[in-house]
Amino acid sequence: MRIASVLQSSSIKQAQNIALDNNVSSIGLSLLHDIYANNYGWLVKLLNKKLSCQHSAADLAQETFLKLLHKNNHIGIIEPRAYLTTIAHGLMVSLIRRRELEKTYLAALANIPVAEQPSAEARLITLETLVQLDAMLDGMPPKVRKAYLLLQLEGLSYAEIANQLGVTSRSVTNYIAKAALHCAIFKQHLSN
């Protein structure tokens, strides 16, 4: 309960700051306020049903409204619930993917000797890097992805990669260029 109320108060402050930063008009702000007041409870209920976890549901609902705040034009929102559901759905999928990466990462750690286990802090930092990289790699064709990972993480030569994938070295060069471009586009997209 306490956590929820702290979150709520801090995000209201955050909301006001974001609203100021983005020059949200007073009409826009009061509209937002209405959307929040009329739909927050509904959204938490909906997420709670899907996630069967109250804290995650409240967190995701807050996150959804913060995303909404970052949109420039709130006046065009006619169906707030459809709009909110779309945002919340995207966030939920990211959350699931994050959990899955976490699971795979922990399983990988199980093969490492106890003495070499990273600290809890190092684990979280690695997980975060994995989440970011995974998002960047999303949508890459499988062979391109594989070639790129073998280069970045194993440091294999193009001939070795070609051998593993059963393609020519020239194709590997192509794959790597494609992968680099894919990542560059992703980064560009992020910064805009």
């Binding site: 807050q62 999928v93 990273p118 997980l127 990289l133 990972l149």
Partner: protein
């Protein structure tokens, strides 16, 4: 989707060429003059370098196994959702050596929780956030086994049987000689700090090699080695009163300490990592502490997914 610029396409091709390891002097010279020809070229190249650096942050071996499997289609992901949540917490334990030790432990605090316990002989124990201990009292000994976290101890003085009071960690044994001290478990060592009286510290695999600390000293030890004693500060035990004290502490270290008291991830942008901070902060309301930071330092808070917070330059 954005359309890639010509500079981005060219940069990617240069990247593929140079990464092959087969580029010669002439290739490098040509690449250099391409890069120097326009700031757009240099920028596009810089971006690829940053991506490379991100990959280098991953520890070896872990990256490939984890990233090799692409994300499943969205609908399938949603189906798995309920399952994920029900096993989410438990899976954190699977990598641990002996999960049952934690599950069967005598006393445990959650992240953000501190707790005071009084033992039968009058000894007072303070458990810091995210701490797990076992208490073993019998006719021969009084022992606290610190499995995870940090514990502060004020030993009772009414022990008629004159049993030793010890704290055991995976790295060794700390024996109290009537006193007030704390023991904290780090990932790869244990730290013992002494505020009153004396303690004896013995590394696990070398119990003959020991050192006796005097009041005001602290020491780090692994199962084979002891560090040189350093000065212990009483403020290091202020957490037992719910306070985190910092004296000109680098922001990165401050946030690492603060993150012990809050669930989720708290990161520090390297650009502000060295800013120094001083003061006393309540560990019970870490959100408020972060808010304070934005008032006193040129930083801002960026939160994603509710539990993933980064402190950035403002």
């Amino acid at each position: 989707m954005l359309k890639p610029s010509q500079a981005m396409v060219a940069a990617s091709q240069w990247y593929a060429k140079l990464a092959s390891g087969e580029a010669n002097e002439r290739d490098y010279a040509a690449w250099q003059s391409w890069k120097d020809a326009s700031s757009k070229h240099a920028q596009a190249w810089q971006q690829l370098e940053e991506i490379n650096q991100q990959f280098q942050q991953l520890p070896p071996k872990v990256g490939l196994t984890t990233l090799q499997k692409p994300a499943p289609p969205r609908r399938q992901a949603l189906k798995q959702l309920a399952v994920m949540f029900s096993v989410g917490t438990a899976s954190w334990y699977t990598y641990q050596e002996q999960p049952w030790r934690e599950l069967l432990a005598d006393y445990k605090t959650a992240v953000g929780e501190t707790r005071e316990i009084q033992l039968a002989d009058g000894t007072q124990l303070y458990l810091n956030t995210n701490t797990t201990i076992n208490v073993l009292y019998n006719n021969q000994q009084r022992q606290v086994e610190l499995i995870e976290g940090e514990v502060l101890i004020k030993t009772g003085h009414q022990d008629t049987a004159q049993r030793n009071f010890t704290v055991k960690t995976q790295y060794g044994l700390v024996t109290a000689l009537g006193t007030h001290f704390s023991v904290r478990n780090f990932a790869d060592y244990t730290k013992a700090s002494l505020f009153e009286g004396q303690i004896k510290v013995e590394p696990e695999s070398n119990l003959g090699q020991n050192i006796v600390l005097n009041a005001g000293e602290s020491i780090n030890f692994t199962s084979t080695q002891l560090s040189r004693p350093e000065k212990a500060r009483l403020t290091d035990a202020a957490w037992s009163k719910g306070i985190l004290v910092a004296y000109a502490m680098p922001l990165a270290q401050f946030l690492a300490e603060l993150s012990r008291y809050r669930p989720g991830l708290l990161r520090c942008d390297p650009a502000v990592a060295k800013l120094e901070i001083s003061g006393s902060f309540p560990t019970q309301d870490t959100d408020a502490v972060l808010e304070t930071l934005t008032n006193t330092l040129p930083v801002r808070i960026h939160t994603i997914m509710g539990y993933w917070t980064t402190i950035q330059a403002s």
